[in-house]
């Protein structure tokens, strides 16, 4: 996945890898993204820590925890960091906020938006939560796209 990242609704993380390893997964399978981040392991680790910090998960406090010990919100933020690592061009998100508390949804989106605009990343998100639509540049109703659905 050189240019695309996914962000799922929940259970985004590999349970037997630590946070940093989870974040760095795309770099393991895409040479381009690896290069975008840095030239060696130390560089990768630094970038992962930077992203985690930006998303409010200080590595010093959290990196020793297994993914199962994190709250859903925290897990989603790790997943967001993973989606952002290596500057992908496109992030496809499938209801990433529906598992979060209503209070935290906006905050979460803001974090992602900030990074996306910095790296010129396009974010396409699917959601049933219309209250979030104000944050986005473009909003499309699924019914409009789903021309084939006559019912």
């Amino acid at each position: 996945m050189d240019h695309i990242s996914f962000l799922f609704q929940q259970f985004n993380l590999i349970p037997y890898l630590n946070l940093i390893e989870n974040v760095l997964l795309p770099c393991r399978f895409s040479r381009l993204r690896y290069q975008n981040v840095g030239s060696d392991e130390a560089g990768l680790k630094d970038e992962a820590c930077r992203l985690l910090n930006l998303l409010g998960l200080e590595p010093e406090k959290f990196s020793h925890l297994t993914t199962q010990k994190l709250s859903v919100g925290q897990q989603q933020r790790v997943a967001a960091a993973r989606a952002l690592v290596g500057n992908p061009k496109l992030i496809l998100a499938d209801e990433p906020t529906s598992a979060l508390d209503p209070e935290n949804r906006l905050a979460f989106l803001e974090l992602i938006f900030k990074q996306c605009s910095k790296n010129q990343t396009t974010l396409i998100m699917v959601s049933h939560d219309t209250s979030l639509s104000a944050q986005f540049d473009r909003v499309i109703d699924l019914d409009v796209l789903n021309q084939a659905n006559g019912f």
Partner: protein, 417 residues
């Protein structure tokens, strides 16, 4: 990278993984251990008879003669006359012939009556002679020289008094308690049945059986001082061990002894008799090996089923990997490597178990058969076995790996389950 993923994945499921590894290890250890035991026992047997060309006993089958004369197992049905022994010793083709007399025991250990030629000539593995740890070889009439295992197990020192019983069991019926013996020598360990034997002179055997008719004690009580030395000339012995001046005479001499008209005798070639013994044992050994092979197959199968059983739970994990860029082939390799690593660790642990098992069994073998098991570093045979087992394991691992491949193809990039 994949290796690291596979390793972390295994660590995550430590306890079930460990059980599988353990089961593979036990079965591999069993197979390797049996093989080494076999080899070691064969070697040990051969070492015991390495210096002997012929064994001559009363007419009978080769294997029993070998067993009772060299390994002190079983009984001779008949004895042979001293005269016959003298005649054959005199033959110019015979380098030496050592007479032995068996039939008595002490607390389960066999008494061997022989002459000082035994110490002079008998050699075992790699031309080693029997040596004294302490004391001296028998000299006086009631002197006994005991093997290292006897000394150790019964905690005997020099000058220990022992009473010899007639017959071979540890609960032998009649004791020669009117004529006790004294330990005058203790031997160094040899790793052969010599260690489990108590040696006395032929004259001593004759002395304790004076007046004994048909294996029963005499009705008169014999005063040891009254024994006339001339009565002590041995009249019969159980067998004699022969070394020839040249191996070329072996078959000829064997034929002549077998055809000896003055007494029915059988001369056997220890090596040949051994081969026959191994043929018989071979069937037993082969079935044991077959069983261990099946057990290995069974534990490999349990490894595979473990991986298959958890496959469903891992669909999410595999889809996540696909979504970050891993191809379905990567998923295949991940599972395959996991299975192979588990198999490999199991096999390595199996090696350890093999040695533990052999160490545990070694004293039992020594007690029962007087043979020493020499532990050796793994050789080509072991590596061939390991290669076969690993190949089998790796082939079997294709199955769960292929399942994972198909699942991840079907599930695509989106986590299901």
């Amino acid at each position: 990278m994949l290796l690291k993923l596979a390793w972390l994945s295994i660590l995550n499921r430590r306890s079930t993984a460990f059980l599988t590894i353990f089961s593979i290890a036990i079965s591999v250890g069993l197979l390797l251990g049996i093989e080494q035991l076999r080899e070691s026992m064969r070697n040990s047997f051969l070492q015991t008879v390495s210096g002997i060309d012929l064994v001559v006993g009363a007419r009978g089958d080769a294997i029993p003669i070998l067993l009772y004369s060299v390994f002190r197992l079983g009984e001779a049905t008949n004895n042979l006359r001293w005269q016959s022994y003298l005649e054959w010793t005199g033959d110019e083709r015979v380098e030496w012939a050592i007479p032995i007399s068996l039939g008595d025991s002490h607390k389960g250990y066999r008494i061997l009556g022989t002459t000082t030629d035994y110490w002079k000539h008998y050699k075992y593995s790699h031309n080693r002679k029997i040596e004294l740890e302490a004391g001296k070889f028998f000299d006086g009439l009631y002197d006994a020289v005991i093997g290292s295992v006897v000394a150790e197990k019964l905690e005997y020192q020099l000058n220990q008094q022992i009473v010899i019983a007639h017959g071979a069991g540890s609960a032998a019926l009649f004791k020669h308690d009117d004529q006790p013996f004294q330990v005058v020598g203790i031997l160094k360990p040899t790793g052969t049945p010599v260690d489990q034997t108590i040696h006395v002179s032929l004259e001593a055997i004759a002395a304790i059986h004076i007046g004994w008719e048909d294996g029963f004690p005499s009705t008169e009580t014999d005063n040891p001082e009254k024994i006339n030395l001339s009565d002590l000339q041995p009249k019969s012995i159980t067998a004699f061990l022969v070394r020839l001046t040249s191996k070329m005479h072996t078959f000829r001499l064997q034929g002549e002894i077998n055809a000896y008209e003055k007494e029915p005798l059988s001369a056997i070639l220890p090596g040949v008799a051994m081969q026959k013994l191994w043929q018989i044992m071979g069937i037993f050994e082969k079935s044991l090996m077959a069983v261990s092979a099946i057990v290995i197959l069974s534990s490999l199968t349990s490894l595979i089923s473990l991986l298959l059983a958890t496959m469903n739970e891992r669909r999410r994990e595999m889809a996540i990997l696909r979504s970050v860029g891993a191809g379905p082939l990567t998923v295949f390799y991940l599972l395959w490597i996991e299975a192979t690593v588990l198999c490999f660790v199991g096999v390595c642990l199996g090696f350890v178990f093999q040695y533990i098992g052999l160490i545990a069994v070694s004293p039992i073998v020594q007690d029962q058969l007087g043979l020493q098991i020499l532990l050796e570093w793994p050789g080509t045979k072991e590596f061939v076995f390991v290669l076969l087992i690993m190949t089998c394991g790796m082939l079997m691992s294709f199955f769960p790996a292929w399942r994972a491949y198909m699942i991840s193809l079907h599930d695509g990039l989106l986590p299901k389950a």
